[in-house]
Symmetry: C2
Subunit: 449 residues, 2 copies
């Protein structure tokens, strides 16, 4: 079933555009899913993309627009009039419409909303734009099937036929009282199975999960994933039904969240991908590299302070990359486990008990690794005192690195800061410095210098 963008397809398309063969292009895209058309538009040059968007039917292009990469969509929208954008918007679900209008300048937002022919849609979009980013309100759509508890099954079916036309997928039918407060839900299946003269109040399921319109979107994702929900109604503080969030939007939230955590752990600040320009990539990468550079200079200053040791114990210095690497690796491992545990609500109990566990774990790992290192240094260098000094301090370095890796994300989380920023370069750099300092201090002590 998968549509593959081949070079032949692209060459053929370019050829058709250059000869202005409109009917052939329309036919070419006829059977292609809008998500695939969006990928084609990401590939072709900008003039060709505009040409295709203006040529295809707005029912299809509205879907394509929602799937495009943000930067390409931005460029395309700049080349459409407010009227043309409004026509696309009218074909979209309200949540997608609000997202796209939200990307425009304030000035253009107003013009596009004014150009909308459907007043109710304009009001819905204005409402959706009013919610803060990353809340349930910003994520929800206004489209839903709503029935009153006093209706009968037959009356309900009749009216649903009307409402359902606007709703791509009917997950649940939400039942409200006369003040529009959510009182229950029904599935289409329940309705089909029920007798036509039954009253909705008698067949509704009164246990219905809902989220507040100001709830954080990652929290909504967590709830929907945990309870295996495919849609969840959104209500205000008075339980009045405002909209609904569907699972496909949650899939996007989860993917974005995972990508962001992964990028933070890898030392990338902005949401970049491999196709971004060198300048964008530099902006995402350089700050963390600079942090690493400053850390490296710190390590240099510490080592210089110990340079008197060099004449007698030169090999101490040759092990600093090993010490730094172990400190960094242990720190990243322990912080990643904590960050992931926090994301999954798995981290229970006190910080102290966590630190104790990590200390035992790091000590166990450290001793195993140190034993190996001890025998290597002893065999290679023939000096048992150097071997003992290096391996003992390795254990200390690993324990401290594990504790820092555990403590920092827990501390940030307590303070309400995203613990994911504590992984990656931040932990590596601080552990490098602490590790090298501890290493030389302990080694000096053991060697009695």
């Amino acid at each position: 079933m998968a549509f593959e963008i081949t070079n032949e397809f692209l060459e053929n398309l370019t050829e058709l555009i250059s000869t202005n063969n409109e009917s052939a292009i329309t036919t070419l895209f006829k059977e292609v899913h809008f998500a695939d058309v969006a990928e084609v538009l990401d590939e072709v040059n900008f003039e060709e993309a505009i040409y295709i968007i203006k040529l295809l039917d707005s029912e299809k292009t509205s879907e394509i627009l929602t799937e495009l990469e943000v930067d390409i969509r931005e460029k395309i929208l700049e080349n459409l009039s407010a009227k043309e954008i409004a026509e696309e918007i009218e074909e979209m679900d309200t949540d997608d419409a609000a997202d796209i209008i939200g990307e425009l300048s304030d000035e253009r937002q107003k013009r596009v909303i004014n150009a909308l022919e459907d007043d109710e849609l304009a009001a819905d979009i204005k409402e959706l734009l009013s919610y803060d980013e990353n809340t349930a309100g910003a994520l929800m759509a206004k489209e839903l099937v709503k029935v009153y508890e006093t209706w009968t099954v037959a009356g309900c079916m009749r009216r649903i036929r009307g409402q359902a036309k606007d709703v791509t997928r009917v997950h649940s039918i939400y039942v409200v009282d006369k003040e529009d407060k959510l009182v229950g839900r029904l599935s289409l299946k329940d309705l089909i199975i029920a007798k036509s003269d039954q009253q909705i109040a008698d067949i509704l399921k009164s246990k219905v999960d809902s989220v507040n319109v100001n709830e954080d979107d990652e929290e909504v994702a967590k709830i929907m994933a945990k309870y295996d929900l495919e849609a969840i109604p959104v209500v205000d503080d008075n339980k009045v039904l405002l909209g609904r969030i569907t699972i496909d939007d949650i899939v996007d939230v989860l993917k974005d969240e995972a990508e962001r955590d992964y990028q933070l752990a890898a030392g990338l600040t902005q949401d970049v991908d491999s196709d971004d320009s060198i300048l964008q990539l530099t902006r995402a990468r350089l700050p963390w590299l600079f942090l690493g550079l400053v850390g490296g200079i710190g390590a240099f200053i510490i080592m210089e302070g110990f340079q008197g040791v060099f004449t007698k114990y030169a090999s101490l210095f040759f092990f600093t990359p090993l010490i730094a690497a172990m400190a960094g690796n242990v720190g990243v491992q322990s912080s990643a486990i904590i960050v992931q545990g926090l994301a999954n609500d798995d981290v229970k109990g006190s910080i102290n008990s966590r630190l104790l566990k990590e200390m035992l774990l790091a000590a166990l790992n450290g001793i195993i690794l140190a034993l190996f290192l001890f025998f290597f240094v002893w065999a290679y260098e023939g000096k048992i005192d150097t071997a003992l000094a290096i391996s003992t301090s390795l254990v200390a370095v690993i324990i401290v690195a594990g504790l820092i890796g555990t403590f920092v994300p827990l501390f940030l989380n307590k303070r309400g800061i995203d613990p994911a920023i504590a992984t990656g370069p931040f932990i590596t750099t601080s552990n490098d410095i602490f590790g090298i300092l501890i290493y030389f201090l302990i080694a000096k002590m053991i060697l009695g210098i």
Copy 2:
């Protein structure tokens, strides 16, 4: 709406269990969602968990079992007879049932399947167990609503009322021909809107996405996320309809995939979480630390080889942690971007053009960082030749690190190996060694030693 496990709740529960107050416990859990009960069972001790499972109704406990952590479920199942497990299984959806039976030993699998009263269910589970792990077949459920193209809308509605009882959520109604080959789909909405004497063949949507039963599950997740599908039918090589996959299962696949990639990047081999035992955590962490240790020994051997330089240019050695850190950070950044791009199918074009782009990017970053380092070393050490040697080799190290970070995941991917293993300790360690070697070679050359 969120249920919170409080200490009071747990104390109360323990109290009720110790006094054997069955009715109070049943009442306590009455309004609690099974996903929350599963969390409670993760918290209480093992005897209490078994007590609760045996007490509650199998309709509820079957759902709870599917939500439990694998290790706790395993222990609970050990304490249930084959007959008791079979009773739980009969309440589950076929996909969950097959997953749980799959966790048992071959011997117990047979006994549980034989204890099932429903022969059709036993056959379905046997079929699902026969598919390879991580394929569409292993992910799908047998429950679906299937109609024949020759039926009328009215006849269809009548039979759906029967089939739908077994299907928790009716996403789509799948239409098959007389050989059970998938020919189209319908939504319940289409059916409600249609006239009752119309034939299914006239109202079905013939464009229906499907996946082959042997398709990789991550590929299925990608397709469903891309096309915003909430369910997808699964077919065999002859297009015969076998089952369907729903989006909630895909949410789990996506979460697992993201967690695994994140853990690999952090140097954790197994699927661990922060609550695992010290021994399990050691098994997940030690192999990567050992790799780091071996890398550190490699760096040691290289540095020892250059020790003659020390008398005149001691500070070269004090910058090795900086060099290693920069090589590691750049490598992780570039590999993370490629790994994520590959996961999103964003990486197009040849390997060579990728490498060229990364080279330019790394050179740009490297030159900016090297300029800073140059002025620092010059100001701090007062030696312009050392400053020049160190900063020039930093640029070379960063470029090589970026190229390795880009090349390795692309190469692994070409070979059909998961590129995610190339992030984290693997890249850091190899870049440490290459970085330090390149650094000394270039510095020696520039300083003319």
